[in-house]
């Protein structure tokens, strides 16, 4: 049982936690604020927090100059495509391992996990070479495949841990009730697993969206997603804080929103069920 806590104590906790929370969040907040300033206000000393002339100018400049929408579209295709492809491959595999475990199931799961630990840089050249030879360099389909493969172990693991929470007796009951394997998956397992599948999709979309090794090394112009678009701002071209902020805000906003929905799944997905 939780005990009653004095209001004073609670007030101290609240103040402290909010102060730290805002401090940690500040870089993001500052980026968002700066994106609405003019370039001169963006670097003004002393810095201006709220009292500036709010403008949307930066957003339109960023879009005009760099065709932001194309990068956004690439990000959506790469993150979305790889996630959907991964789910299609992972659902049957996770079903098998969760409900028809064999002596090898554990070894297979751990082996899948071990492929995730392979440092990307160790296989950078082979992949680069294969991409050139298969004509996949700077193509969206190539990145969809790579993103799917690097996240497949996480997808399988997350689905596996969700499926394992569904009691096997329910599936057996369906079997006793005369459901075929297809009906069992369609009418019983899938509806029960929808929340788990949804969280898996969400987390993997985020991971693929933010991935910044393969997207930087395997794309140039055509397939470059937002990670590469932002990286192109690293070469200095005079005053550009406000535009950088506008571009950054657009790149992170969708994911920040999705991310807030997936906090709980984050723990499960990234610790492979080892922390609950």
């Amino acid at each position: 049982m939780a005990r009653a806590v004095t209001t004073q104590r609670k007030a101290i906790n609240t103040t402290l936690a909010w102060a730290i929370g805002l401090l940690i969040f500040f870089p993001i907040l500052w980026t968002i604020l700066t994106s609405f300033k003019t370039e001169a206000q963006a670097i003004a000393n002393p810095p201006i927090f709220i009292g500036f002339d709010w403008t949307l100018e930066n957003y339109s400049i960023v879009q005009e100059r760099s065709n932001y929408m194309r990068f956004l579209w690439n990000s959506v295709i790469i993150a979305g495509g790889s996630t959907i492809l991964g789910i299609i491959i992972a659902v049957p595999a996770a079903w098998s391992m969760a409900f028809v475990p064999s002596k090898r199931t554990k070894d297979i799961l751990l082996w899948m996990l071990s492929t995730k630990m392979l440092p990307a840089v160790g296989v950078l050249y082979p992949i680069y070479l294969l991409f050139i030879q298969l004509g996949l360099l700077d193509s969206r389909i190539g990145l969809v495949i790579v993103m799917m493969l690097i996240n497949l172990p996480i997808i399988v693991w997350m689905l596996y841990t969700y499926f394992r929470e569904i009691p096997g007796e329910i599936l057996e009951a369906a079997r006793m009730d005369g459901a075929s394997l297809r009906e069992e998956l369609l009418y019983v397992l899938t509806p029960m697993a929808i929340p788990g599948i949804a969280s898996t999709i969400l987390l993997n979309f985020i991971l693929a969206w933010n991935e910044a090794f393969w997207t930087l090394n395997l794309t140039a112009v055509d397939a470059a997603p937002l990670t590469a678009f932002i990286a192109s701002y690293s070469s200095p071209e005079g005053l550009f804080f406000a535009k950088l902020s506008a571009a950054s805000t657009m790149a992170i906003a969708p994911i920040l929103i999705l991310g807030w929905f997936s906090q709980k799944q984050l723990v499960r997905g990234l610790t492979f069920g080892a922390v609950k």
């Binding site: 500052w30 409900f99 751990l110 996990l113 933010n210 930087l216 991310g259």
Partner: protein, 288 residues
């Protein structure tokens, strides 16, 4: 436990995932191993024959190797220390009753969702820029000389940026672990006369032990291969060239594939040493 019929169906349904991952692992790995024994310079003559262990020896004996190892260790160690210590404190604070807990949680977690290139650029320019950065303004306000963060304090700056990105992860996992602690245990300890500090060291910390280990292992694996943060901020200059970055430069910048591949094999071995420990813990958890 199941029937023969469902077992064969299961094998069939598992096949695509297993085959794909097997290919994804074996094909590039074999190629990396192959290249690592070759003198292979795509832009300067291509395949120049077998090299034996020359690449492995040269990679380790190059003047860049040991500094890169040192840089890698400093970054990984520094980030781990900061995120774990602050993560524990923050998780304990967030576990306390307060107003607006949900909102604070969101604020704290947010940096994890910022893509690495964005956080690196935002920190580099808007905070660490020696002329217009917020830190420069702050330093001038107190009458100090602004610091050129990414050239004069490059390593600490990168540690700071990366810690900011990974603190939410550590906090979130440790918070989850703290919340699973049975409050009756703490009450029993209180009844036994244990003061707050003793309760922390004797009950909370041991309870968090496993979660801390997992945080350390998973972060180590990710931190060993941080790339975008260095690529965008210093490009490996000013003593920020990690092992990963060194290999990247050998392979794609100087196009010495043989040498880079030998480095890649070292990186794989290094990551596997960490991975073995992580897999043990995860594996044990699977049995439970």
């Amino acid at each position: 436990m199941a029937t023969q019929h469902s077992r064969s169906a299961a094998r069939l349904m598992m096949a695509p995932a297993v085959v794909l991952l097997l290919g994804w692992m074996l094909v590039p790995l074999t190629m990396t191993l192959y290249f690592s024994f070759k003198n292979y310079l795509p832009l300067r003559g291509g395949d120049l024959g077998w090299a034996g262990f020359d690449n492995y020896v040269r990679f380790v004996s190059s003047s860049a190797f040991w500094p890169a190892v040192q840089t890698t260790l400093v970054i990984v160690g520094g980030v781990l220390l900061i995120t774990v210590v602050l993560g524990i404190l923050l998780a304990m604070l967030l576990d306390q009753p307060m107003w607006g807990q949900g909102v604070v949680r969101i604020l704290v977690i947010a940096p994890f969702f910022v893509m690495p290139t964005v956080s690196a650029l935002v920190w580099k320019n808007m905070f660490m820029d020696p002329v217009n950065g917020l830190f420069a303004h702050l330093w001038r306000f107190f009458g100090a000389e602004p610091v050129s963060w990414l050239s004069d304090a490059s390593l600490s700056s990168i540690i700071m940026i990366v810690s900011w990105q990974w603190l939410p992860f550590a906090t979130l996992i440790l918070l989850t672990a703290i919340q699973s602690l049975d409050s009756e245990q703490l009450e029993a300890a209180e009844m036994d006369g244990a003061p707050a500090l003793a309760r922390f060291t004797n009950i909370i910390l041991p309870h968090l032990g496993r979660a801390i280990t997992i945080v350390i292992l998973i972060q180590t694996i990710f931190l060993l291969s941080i790339f975008a943060e260095i690529f965008v901020t210093t490009g490996g200059a000013f003593g920020t060239r990690t092992l990963t970055y060194l290999i990247f430069q050998r392979v794609l910048e100087s196009q010495n594939v043989g040498l880079g591949s030998a480095g890649g094999v070292y990186a794989i071995i290094l990551a596997n040493i960490v991975a073995i420990f992580l897999m043990r813990i995860v594996g044990k958890n699977l049995d439970a």
